[in-house]
Structures are given as structure tokens and as C-alpha cells.
């Protein structure tokens, strides 16, 4: 059934697996790698909950097939936290600013914002809003999310 091998690095760990060609990167990360922090909220590239970094760039992992990640370095939300459990500045800020409720969309927001602040460390509020507009949240009304990203930017912690 069109199986292909894929080799990539996920959160610093080298992986090699045989997968169906049609297996999405999101399913590969969740099921083959056991990294269930990457969530599937729509599977058609709109909600952003499955956002991961591929070679440092934020992408929708539901819109990539695992086989396309051959040779890539992938970072998921789990990979943003220090091994000792210390939260990343954005992870801490989401907590401090009440930037989450049910938490389902949160990994996608944090991964997206991590890439955004790396490229644009001192954004305006409007730039933050535009950067995060590709992630959907249904609980918070986005208030705490915008504040969290702005607070990290203001402190230069991105």
C-alpha cells in the first residue's frame, strides 16, 4: 500500500519509520512518534492547532505528508520546553496572561508565536494579531493570547 520510509529529526531525536505515503506529518508525529501535543482541529489547514516547525519554519502538519519531511528537522510544542520542564518564555506567558482555557489550540499558537517572535522580536499589536490570525481559538476570545505574545515581545524574551 504505497509504503515509504522517512527519516527525520524530531525534537532532536533521529527517527526512521516506514509509513504509508498518505500519512500526514501530523498523524506521524502523534501516532508514530507519540507526540500528541500536536493537535488536529480541522485537518484541512485552517485551525492551526497542528502547527509545528519544519526546519525552523512554522507549518501546518496536517497539510504535509510525513514522507515530505525526509531529512527535515521538526520541532513540536513538546520540543520547546527545557528537558527539566522549565517552560519557554511563551509557554510561561500564556499561563501568566490566562492565554488558554481548554488548551486544545494552545500548542499551535505557541509554536506559531515562537517562530513569529524569532523573526520579528519587536512587533506591534497589529502585527501580532495578523501573525496569529491563522490559528483559531474558541475559548479565550484571543485576549490573553495577544497579551501573552505582546508581553514576551516587550521583555525581549522571544
Amino acid at each position: 500500500m504505497a509504503d515509504t520510509t522517512v527519516g527525520c529529526t524530531v525534537n532532536g531525536v533521529a527517527r526512521r519509520s516506514t509509513v504509508e505515503a498518505r500519512r500526514t506529518l501530523a498523524d506521524f508525529l502523534r501516532e508514530d512518534c507519540g507526540l500528541t501535543g500536536t493537535h488536529l482541529g480541522c485537518e484541512h489547514g485552517v485551525c492551526g492547532a497542528c502547527t509545528v516547525l519544519v526546519d525552523g519554519e512554522a507549518v501546518r502538519s496536517c497539510l504535509m505528508f510525513a514522507v515530505q519531511a525526509e531529512g527535515c528537522e521538526i520541532t513540536t510544542v513538546e520540543g520547546l520546553t527545557s528537558p527539566d520542564g522549565t517552560l519557554s518564555p511563551l509557554q510561561a506567558a500564556f499561563r501568566e496572561e490566562h492565554g488558554l482555557q481548554c488548551g486544545f489550540c494552545t500548542p499551535g499558537f505557541i509554536v506559531s508565536a515562537t517562530a513569529f517572535l524569532r523573526d520579528r522580536p519587536h512587533p506591534s499589536e497589529q502585527e501580532i494579531r495578523e501573525a496569529l490570525s491563522g490559528n483559531l481559538c474558541r475559548c479565550t476570545g484571543y485576549q490573553g493570547i495577544i497579551k501573552a505574545v505582546a508581553s514576551v515581545a516587550a521583555e525581549g524574551r522571544g
Binding site: M1, A2, T4, E20, A21, R22, T24, D27, E43, H44, G45, G48, T51, V54, E57, A58, V59, R60, C62, L63, M64, F65, V67, Q68, E70, S112, A115, F116, R129, E130, A131, S133, G134
Partner: protein
């Protein structure tokens, strides 16, 4: 929401890719950024036995100057690369200016210029830029290379002049010089959505503030992107002060047929918004051109 099974191919050269397309026929589909194709596969609205991933072909990526002063961009160049390219802001300013309007940044990190143009969504920005600037498209197949003018390339809803076994390899954009200005305006329900209607405008003024040339591309206003030919003809040689933006907007949409009607608006609504977008894009293009003094190189943001 999981796609049907397919065979995956990752050719490393254009030659290999077009060989696969030729061999596999209609059951094969080119996979570029996949940001439009993969959702259709996931919903099983599209089913292919083979996907030919062209993002591993180095020669399809990058922005390079051509000998005649034009700029040639590899079809598999990511949208983000256009946004970040330092030179494009001076040479083909419309490209970096429309790019932030293409979806969201996570989409632009995977989406490609050629993928968008070959997908030919009538509400997308890049096809309208290609059409407005009279870009030239290079296509390869096992039968050789063809160079296609933008005019006529978009020949129907999600349809282009590319043959089924052809791969879009690059797009060449002319570089405008002189007192030029460019403008982009679109209206979408939400930031990052496909536009209900939009316009890209390029103008060049002579030393007397007369219109030397104007190029206006419309999107979201038909089954394909559309060139506002009547408008372009009317303004030719006219003093810029005689060109009323609102009037030009009305002219641009006056002879449109096949304007779509859907839950986001009737054809009449889209034309109304389209006219306003032409006016807005026109005004900003003209302002920019007027600020450029004669004989000086324009530094486009």
C-alpha cells in the same frame, strides 16, 4: 478526513519530474506546497494515484535576474522567500506586497508561487500579478520547453494552458523602470481569507505626469483573474490629474461577465467591492509614482 492512498514520488530534477508526469498520465498530480491540494485530498474531493513532489528540485527554487533585466522566479519558490527577498521590493514590488495577503504565514512557508499560479484560483493574488505584469511562464514536458504569455494562460476556473504532462518551471516578470508606482487592495471576510474582490495596479508616469502605462489585474471577479483592459486603454497618455480613481474603479468592473455569486456576496456586490479596490489600489500606485522624481530610480518599499 484522511486522503486516499497514493504513490509518492520525489524527483530531484525537472527532467525526472516531467518523465514521471509523462509516464503516469492523468493519474498523477504535481504536489508543490500542497496548501490547496492537500485539503482537497484530505476531503477526498480529489483523488490521484500518484503525487509528484517538486519541492525537492533545486532548479525550481530561487529568485534570479535574467539577462534582459527581467526577474525569473522558480516555480517552487516559497511565498515566504518572495516576502523576504531583498531585491524584489525594487524589481517586482507587487510580489512582496501581495504576499502578506496570501493566507497566513504558516501557509506561506509551504505555499509556492508556481503552485498558486498553476492552481489558478480566481480569487488568488499571484495569478492576478502574473496577468497584470504580462509575465512569461516557462513549462517543461518530455516534449521540451514552452514559454507561455500570461495573457491566455488562465483559461477557466482552476484551469490553465498547461498540458496535463507539463510542469510549470519558472515565471519571468518584467522589471518596470522610470516613475512607477504600485498598489494592492483586496477585501476579504477575515484577514488571510481568499478575497471577495481585489486589484493589483502598476502605473508609470512620464515627466509631465501623464500616464505612460498602466496595468490593472483583478481577482475574485470572474472564473479567472482578469485584466482591466478598458481602464488601461482609457488612461493611456492622460494627465494623472484627469484620472479619477472612483471612476476608474467603475470602468474596471463595468464590462465584467461571469462574476461569481455565493454566500459571501452576489455578483453585483463583488463588482461594487471590486470597483472600490481598484480605486484604492490605483490611488496608492499613483501617489507612489508621483513621489518618484523623473529620472531617479524608485525605491519601492
Amino acid at each position: 478526513m484522511k486522503p486516499s492512498a497514493f504513490e509518492y514520488h520525489a524527483p530531484r530534477s525537472v527532467e525526472e519530474a516531467v518523465g514521471l508526469l509523462s509516464e503516469l498520465g492523468d493519474d498523477a498530480k504535481v504536489l508543490a506546497g500542497g496548501q490547496s491540494l492537500v485539503p482537497m485530498l484530505a476531503m477526498r474531493l480529489a483523488v490521484f494515484g500518484h503525487l509528484v513532489d517538486v519541492t525537492r528540485i533545486p532548479e525550481l527554487r530561487g529568485v534570479g535576474p535574467a539577462a534582459d533585466g527581467s526577474v525569473t522566479i522558480g516555480a517552487a519558490t516559497a511565498d515566504t522567500a518572495l516576502e523576504r527577498d531583498a531585491g524584489l521590493g525594487r524589481t517586482v514590488p507587487l510580489l512582496p506586497r501581495v504576499t502578506p495577503l496570501v493566507g497566513h504565514f504558516q501557509i506561506r512557508n509551504r505555499g509556492t508561487l508556481g503552485g498558486s499560479v498553476a492552481h489558478a484560483d480566481p480569487a488568488a493574488e499571484y495569478p492576478a500579478v502574473v496577468l497584470a505584469l504580462d509575465a512569461e511562464l516557462a513549462a517543461r514536458s518530455v516534449r521540451g520547453e514552452r514559454r507561455l504569455p500570461a495573457a491566455g494562460f488562465f483559461d477557466g476556473l482552476w484551469s490553465t494552458a498547461l498540458a496535463p504532462d507539463e510542469l510549470l518551471t519558472s515565471i519571468t516578470f518584467p522589471v518596470w523602470s522610470g516613475r512607477c508606482g504600485f498598489g494592492v487592495a483586496e477585501f476579504a471576510r477575515r484577514h488571510g481569507d481568499f478575497a471577495i474582490a481585489g486589484a493589483v495596479v502598476g502605473v508609470e508616469l512620464d515627466g509631465d505626469d501623464r500616464m505612460r502605462r498602466a496595468a490593472v489585474g483583478l481577482f475574485g471577479l470572474g472564473p479567472t483573474p482578469v485584466r482591466a483592459g478598458q481602464l488601461e486603454k482609457e488612461v493611456g497618455g492622460r494627465p494623472v490629474t484627469d484620472c479619477d480613481a472612483a471612476q476608474l474603479g467603475a470602468i474596471a468592473v463595468s464590462d465584467l461577465s461571469d462574476v461569481p455569486s455565493d454566500m459571501n456576496g452576489t455578483a453585483a456586490y463583488r463588482k461594487r467591492v471590486g470597483a472600490a479596490m481598484v480605486a484604492r489600489a490605483w490611488s496608492s500606485a499613483v501617489t507612489e509614482a508621483q513621489q518618484a522624481r523623473s529620472g531617479q530610480e524608485v525605491h519601492h518599499g
